[in-house]
């Protein structure tokens, strides 16, 4: 067991290294951050050169990569930009949690991201709970009442929901619950932001502003997952032990919840665990549309500003999260299924 865990952790190290390398090369190809500086009053060529030296952009690519990965506190850098390195570096490198500074406002990337991360995690956490609860409820009910009116209607709904582009869904909800409700004199929901600046950042305000983003992020996933729960429930409900439990005289809802659901949800939970980091992609669009101050929106704004350390930091952290969740899922599975440990 311990051997398996150690082997699995060792396997993910080269994967992380490759991820970082690919990302770094990608961002290297991204273009010159200095070139896009100062559109109205372009900096003088001499200033450009100085800035390039100060930011370490004059170094060869592999040096930049090593600096990015391991920091530069063991070497001297050219702070005054005269071409001679003299000041000891201060960067610690990604391996020690330093993702560098934003090229736009000079603030540490880790700080920028951690500032936004709680907002995204809050949104994602609520979305995950909503997804799990509703997918299980709809999926189980559809399976128990197979081919009923609800099941058929829900099948249709899930196909449509699964085909929805997030922008359409988000704008549709906005149109209905904010614009039309306001016109009809009903209580309406806020469209953008995280709280009303006049009221302040209260839990009630945040909850109110979260409704539309949460609904538009979760509907598509609920449509997909509930089909999954339905089919795995149907599979389990057809097994012998369920019939035995029913034959013993146990009530149907007890059999469904205690015997069937438990087995049917195991693969579902794994699926959700692996998908959590991927919700971030949906968050990019949703956060942009609803102006939610999270990492997804930071990602989109950093693109337009060519702020590659920030982009890199967000992508790297996402990659880390994915590898981490893969690791946790694999290890959890090996606890449950001894065959995996040997293979």
């Amino acid at each position: 067991m311990v051997n398996y865990i150690i082997r699995r952790i060792l396997q993910s190290i080269p994967q992380l290294f490759l991820i970082s390398l690919v990302l770094f090369l990608l961002m290297q190809a991204f273009g010159d951050p200095i070139a896009s500086l100062g559109v109205r009053t372009p900096p003088k060529p001499a200033d450009r050169e100085r800035l390039r030296r100060q930011l370490g952009l004059d170094q060869p690519v592999y040096v930049q990569y090593v600096v990015w990965l391991a920091g530069n506190d063991w070497m001297k850098i050219d702070m005054d930009g005269d071409g001679v390195p003299e000041t000891p570096g201060k960067r610690l490198g990604v391996l020690r949690g330093d993702f560098g500074n934003s090229l736009i406002n000079k603030r540490p990337v880790s700080e920028l991201v951690t500032e936004r991360l709680p907002n995204t995690l809050l949104l994602m956490g609520v979305v995950e709970i909503v997804i799990i609860v509703f997918s299980l409820a709809f999926g189980v009910y559809s399976a128990v009442r197979q081919y009923s009116l609800f099941d058929n209607l829900f099948t249709g709904f899930s196909f449509i929901g699964y085909a929805m582009p997030i922008p359409l869904l988000a704008l549709l909800l906005m149109y209905l619950f904010s614009i039309n409700f306001k016109e009809w004199g009903l209580p309406y929901l806020p469209t953008v932001g995280m709280f009303d600046p006049q009221v302040g950042r209260t839990p009630g305000q945040i909850a109110l502003h979260m409704i539309l983003p949460v609904v538009s992020l979760s509907i598509i996933s609920i449509a997909g997952y509930s089909r999954y729960v339905r089919s795995s429930m149907l599979e389990v409900l057809g097994l012998d032990y369920i019939r035995t439990a029913r034959a013993k005289g146990l009530q149907k809802h007890i059999v469904v919840i205690r015997h069937a659901l438990r087995n049917a949800t195991l693969p579902f939970v794994t699926l959700i665990g692996l998908d959590i980091p991927f919700l971030l992609a949906g968050a990019v669009l949703t956060e942009t549309i609803f102006a939610w101050p999270g990492t997804g929106r930071l990602f989109v704004t950093s693109i337009s500003q060519s702020d590659f350390p920030v982009l890199m930091g967000i992508l790297m952290m996402t990659g880390l999260a994915v590898v981490f969740f893969q690791l946790v899922t694999d290890i959890a599975y090996s606890f449950l299924d001894p065959r995996i440990r040997i293979a």
Partner: protein, 315 residues
């Protein structure tokens, strides 16, 4: 060797004909798959005849239409004669957009772009994914390890985030968006092909071909890869749906199709702040994307069930 291989080929082709026959029969028995095919057929028809169906040039504003009789107004709501719009006004089934262009014409031309996007990206990633997956599965060892580790790296990111990063590197534009989405979907196909290759590589009929003197090319393309065809078709059909969604998302963010291309995602993105005043400009392109994605999903789902031998007894 020639005679023997010819015989073997004849047998395979006989088998594959009957497989397609069965699949077609099973597919036609599924209502949802038939619906998907009908919607898709209509979309293809619209795409092919857009230049006849569209009343106006999709990229020209009404200002450029000689002797335009109507009012020149940005984001004019739909004017349909059948629904009581005065006959004196020129008909615009879906209104005018922010650049005074006929939204309906743009929507029709958009079908062309979306279908091309779907087929082009998926063909690109299937082609590369198949080659990589086949090499990995057939040769194994370090070839397999190298290819699949790189695929893992691509899979370690949400595809949309990675596609955004690639497009920002390449520069915004429809072709680059297609390339980015093509690249991020390669691993899915590579995995499918590798899996099928691994499952039949050591089978007797493959060794038989080898002992008959078949070369690597023949073994791989004639004997092994046809096994990957079924899962590839299913994955590809569903892949078209997600490619269309992802391209629309990129265009929505301004990274895909550029002005004045009538691409649905960018039409949606350009007018998204006008949802309050001109909802028709947001909802029509959005619904068009949804309908297209729905058609491919329904068809892909139907194909998966129809091609799955385990479900043979069901139909």
């Amino acid at each position: 060797m020639g005679q023997n291989t010819a015989k073997l080929n004849a047998e395979t082709s006989l088998d594959s004909v009957s497989l397609w026959g069965i699949t077609r029969k099973r597919l036609l028995r599924r209502k949802s798959a038939v619906m998907g095919m009908i919607i898709l057929g209509m979309l293809i028809l619209v795409a092919l005849t857009a230049h006849w169906l569209a009343p106006y040039d999709p990229t020209k504003s009404m200002l450029d239409v000689p002797d335009y009789p109507g009012k020149i107004e940005k984001r004019l709501p739909p004017c349909v004669h059948a629904f009581g719009c005065p006959e004196s006004e020129p008909q615009h089934l879906m209104g005018l957009d922010g650049n005074i262009r006929d939204e309906f014409s743009r929507l029709l031309y958009g079908a062309r772009i979306s279908l091309v996007i779907g087929f082009a990206t998926v063909s690109f990633s299937i082609l590369i994914g198949t080659v990589l997956g086949a090499l990995a599965g057939y040769f194994g060892g370090w070839v397999d390890n190298t290819i699949m580790r790189v695929m893992d790296v691509v899979l370690a990111f949400p595809s949309l985030l990675l596609a955004i990063a690639i497009v920002t590197v390449l520069g915004p534009g429809l072709i680059n968006a297609l390339l980015a989405i093509g690249i991020v979907s390669i691993p899915a196909y590579a995995r499918v092909v590798r899996g099928s290759v691994l499952s039949v590589r050591e089978m007797d009929y493959v060794s038989a071909t080898r002992s008959l003197g078949g070369n690597t090319y023949e073994i791989l393309f004639r004997r092994i890869l046809p096994n990957a065809l079924t899962p590839l078709i299913v994955q590809g059909t569903l892949g078209i749906a997600s490619a269309i969604l992802e391209t629309a998302a990129l265009s929505f963010l301004g990274l895909g199709a550029q002005h004045p291309t009538p691409e649905w995602g960018s039409m949606l993105g350009q007018e998204r702040n006008q949802v309050f005043t001109a909802p028709h400009l947001v909802f029509y392109p959005g619904l068009a994307i949804m309908l297209t994605v729905l058609a491919f999903n329904l068809l892909g789902d139907g194909l998966r069930d129809a091609l799955d031998p385990r479900l043979a007894h069901v139909s």
